[in-house]
């Protein structure tokens, strides 16, 4: 049996749902065929997908046909099959491939699936009510976006000349993580570490992110008595006189990184308008379904904890001095809790989310 025949046997094993690593693969060579073998990255990605159960055939085809986007290694040969010492990168044992290479390939496959999915349906909003409360939402952008969308669906769009302003606040570390997550969900966002580092380098938060500055700006427009601080979505509902508002679905840091990688590929595949639509209407719901609940949200790195606590105390004092109405708790809730983990996700965790998300996409019949 030739090495090529052994490799084709492994390809057949993987395409039919097998999970045996290349190093352990023995075969009679009956699956031998002519042609160019798929790259080691493609085969290993397929094997990892199979670990959760046989991969559906359309997804198998997509994985094997997809080029890995961006910079990195091209299709690598399998050790023991490709002739070492010739040209191109040396052959590898697929099990030794670094996770970031598999993430790169998975982001290309996922981006292809996002683009080929049916166009997301626009939200079905009730017609604006004739008599409704005038309001504006500020503060935590992720929560504000989620609540606003629910209110609009219920016929209560924001606006008005003298609105009630509800600032959504909470643990400052989580507040900043949500602000970054909201950026990831909308359009371009730098990596979390860069973004938070850039903020922590400043003497204090820039006005657009500083709850004290934002609340003061609203108070100047509508009066202090109309600015309310809500420390939970239910408290926001109470301040607005509505019921049934629920907070946003939060993605883990790993899932947000997976979104970032996939968005990078989408930039080359679709224009910015369609990219945003497909990001919101397709990719994010898939990632919400494929996310691993035990993985943490972004956390402020240990080296910036001192800055975070200082900022939280400054903001608490600034808001308390201004005398706004507070709903849902005490302003002490702005002080950051000690996080369980202070490091970001590994590529392995990002890959785990991507593999689950690829399955979700396929289950929805998109592959």
């Amino acid at each position: 049996m030739t090495a090529q025949a052994r490799a084709w046997g492994w390809v057949a094993h993987l395409t039919s749902g097998g999970t045996t690593p290349w190093a352990d693969w023995t075969d009679d060579g009956s699956a031998s065929r002519a042609g160019v073998l798929p790259g080691a990255q493609h085969l290993e990605l397929l094997r990892r997908l199979n670990l959760a159960g046989p991969t559906p055939t359309p997804l198998v085809r997509r994985v094997l046909a997809s080029g890995a986007p961006g910079r990195g290694q091209q299709e690598l040969g399998l050790v023991g099959v490709a002739e070492p010492g010739r040209y191109g990168a040396p052959p590898v044992d697929p099990a030794d491939l670094p996770d970031d290479e598999l993430v790169r390939l998975a982001s290309g496959v996922l981006a292809d699936l996002v683009v080929s999915a049916p166009e997301p349906a626009p939200p079905r909003n009730r017609r604006p009510r004739l008599f409704r409360h005038e309001y504006r939402l500020g503060g935590n952008r992720l929560t504000a976006d989620a609540l606003r969308a629910q209110l609009i669906r219920d016929g209560r769009p924001p606006g008005g000349t003298r609105p009630t302003v509800v600032m959504l606040l909470g643990d400052l570390g989580a507040h900043l993580a949500d602000t970054w997550a909201a950026r990831v969900r909308r359009a371009f966002a730098p990596p979390w570490d860069d973004w938070i580092h850039e903020l922590a380098e400043r003497p204090q938060l820039p006005p657009r992110l500083d709850p004290v500055a934002r609340a003061r700006a609203w108070a100047d427009q509508v009066g202090v008595e109309r600015v309310h601080l809500a420390l939970a979505p239910a408290a926001a509902a109470e301040a607005l006189g509505v019921r049934g508002l629920t907070g946003p679905t939060r993605l883990s840091h790993a899932a947000l990184d997976a979104a970032g990688h996939t968005k990078g590929v989408l930039r080359v595949l679709v224009n910015d308008v369609e990219r945003e639509q497909r990001l919101r209407g397709v990719l994010l719901p898939w990632l919400e379904a494929g996310d691993t609940p035990t993985l943490p949200a972004p956390v402020v790195p240990r080296r910036h904890r001192g800055w975070l606590e200082h900022e939280a105390r400054r903001i608490r004092a600034g808001l308390a001095d201004a005398g706004y109405a507070v709903h849902g708790g005490e302003l002490d809730q702005l002080l950051p809790a000690e996080p369980v983990r202070t490091t970001g996700p590994t590529y392995g965790e990002v890959l785990t989310v991507m593999l689950r998300t690829l399955r979700v996409a396929t289950m929805e019949g998109q592959a």
Binding site: G67, P69, G70, Q74, E75, Y87, G108
Partner: protein
């Protein structure tokens, strides 16, 4: 009827490709008259197509690349004669991407063209390109990365993907007969300045066409201290200068328009042990290419590095006086640019002031107050709104006919 052919030039970087592409772009109408298509509506059209084909992020430029390869391929397929596609980063394409690219070109006879330069000159040029694309990797680290046999780093995988000639030709030429594969060698230093162009002209079938060769787009090289300075600038500004600003301000203004003019400073080279290693690699490549029987414009011997008597200037440990001199030139360029911008700002401020004065005069006319009052009243009633709408439609029509 002319044969339908595609001349597909896929690399390598730093082999005179910018000059070639600019000649082709500027002369594209003349070329079309001669039956040769260079399908480009902007000078970087083929670069964008390459980004699209390979799904490569490039500091935000990829946003402009959506669908660019398919558009280019469609133009090529529709053209009945010879079409030229040229970009050096295509050398990076994977087998899957190459399959897609070749399939998209239809039934034309594809000729693969690779231009090549000796490896000892390519190594520092590639590092310099890294620095010009805002990377901060030091030269020693770069040299270590590219000599790693596993090629795991992004630096190494990119370098070999776009420089390893036999591999590029294996990937791109897997389904193309050797007689349709052409290697254009960059002449050795000291050769006639027109020699490379003559080789390109012969390979691309451009001989005898009165092309305008006086183009100004090139990708000029920097000296060793200038590259060191640029790397230090990257380290200082990368955190806050966006890619869209970096390209015109740092890459164009500082690197291309300022630092590349300093031609008397020491050139980048390689240390002796790297020269020995690179020469051995190059000898292997030349033997391999000679055995494959490709058409060669020039001489494969051009790809063998010369013995160099020039001393090696280490850009990681430069003579600071030379770097400081380069920095003074940079300060001068930035000041001049600031002066230009201040002049432009003053000019715009003057125009704005003039416009505001004209607007003020219009407001002061008694008829303006009357018209404003009338419009305000009309806007509050349904009948008035209808009348205003009719008036505005009528005014629009008369404006157009005027």
């Amino acid at each position: 009827m002319r044969a339908k052919r595609v001349l597909l030039h896929v690399g390598t970087p730093k082999t005179g490709t910018s000059y070639l592409q600019d000649v082709l772009f500027r002369n594209r109408r003349l070329l079309a008259d001669r039956g040769i298509l260079y399908p480009a509506d902007r000078f970087d059209a083929h670069f964008l197509a390459a980004l699209d084909l390979m799904r490569l992020p490039w500091g935000g430029l990829e946003d402009e690349a959506v669908g660019a390869w398919d558009r280019l391929a469609e133009e090529v397929r529709r053209w009945p004669g010879t079409a030229i596609v040229s970009h050096e980063i295509l050398a990076h394409a994977s087998r899957t991407e190459i399959e897609r690219a070749l399939a998209s070109l239809g039934d034309a006879e594809v000729h693969l063209i690779v231009s090549a330069r000796d490896l000892v000159r390519q190594i520092p040029a590639e590092w310099q390109e890294n620095v010009k694309h805002r990377r901060t990797i030091g030269y020693a680290r770069f040299l270590t990365a590219i000599r790693d046999p596993q090629r795991r780093s992004r630096t190494a995988s990119w370098f070999w993907a776009v420089q390893e000639l036999p591999d590029i030709l294996d990937r791109w030429g897997a389904t193309i007969p050797p007689e349709r594969i052409h290697v254009v060698t960059v002449p050795k230093p000291g050769s006639a300045p027109t020699l490379l162009w003559e080789r390109f002209a012969r390979t691309f079938g451009l001989e005898g066409i009165p092309l305008d060769l006086n183009v100004d787009r090139a990708n000029p090289s920097l000296g060793a201290p200038e590259t060191t300075l640029l790397r230090r600038i990257n380290r200082t500004v990368n955190g806050f200068v966006k890619p869209a600003d970096y390209r015109p301000l740092v890459r164009e203004l500082l690197a291309h328009q300022t630092l590349s003019k300093r031609t008397n400073s020491p050139r980048l080279g390689v240390p002796p042990e790297v020269r020995t290693w690179a020469t051995a690699v190059a000898i292997g490549w030349v033997e391999e290419l000679a055995a494959r029987g490709y058409d060669v414009a020039g001489d494969l011997e051009d790809l063998l590095p010369d013995e160099s008597g020039a001393p090696f200037f280490d850009p990681d440990h430069p003579r600071e006086r030379l770097v400081n001199n380069a920095a003074l030139d940079v300060i001068r360029a930035l000041l001049l640019e600031n002066v230009r911008l201040r002049d432009a700002e003053a000019d715009l401020a003057g125009r704005l002031e003039e416009a505001e004065r004209a607007l003020g005069r219009a407001y002061l006319r008694p008829s303006y107050k009357l018209r404003e009052k009338a419009v305000s009243k009309l806007e509050h009633g349904r009948l008035g709104q209808g009348m205003l709408g009719a008036y505005r439609r009528a005014r629009g029509r008369s404006s157009r006919s005027a």
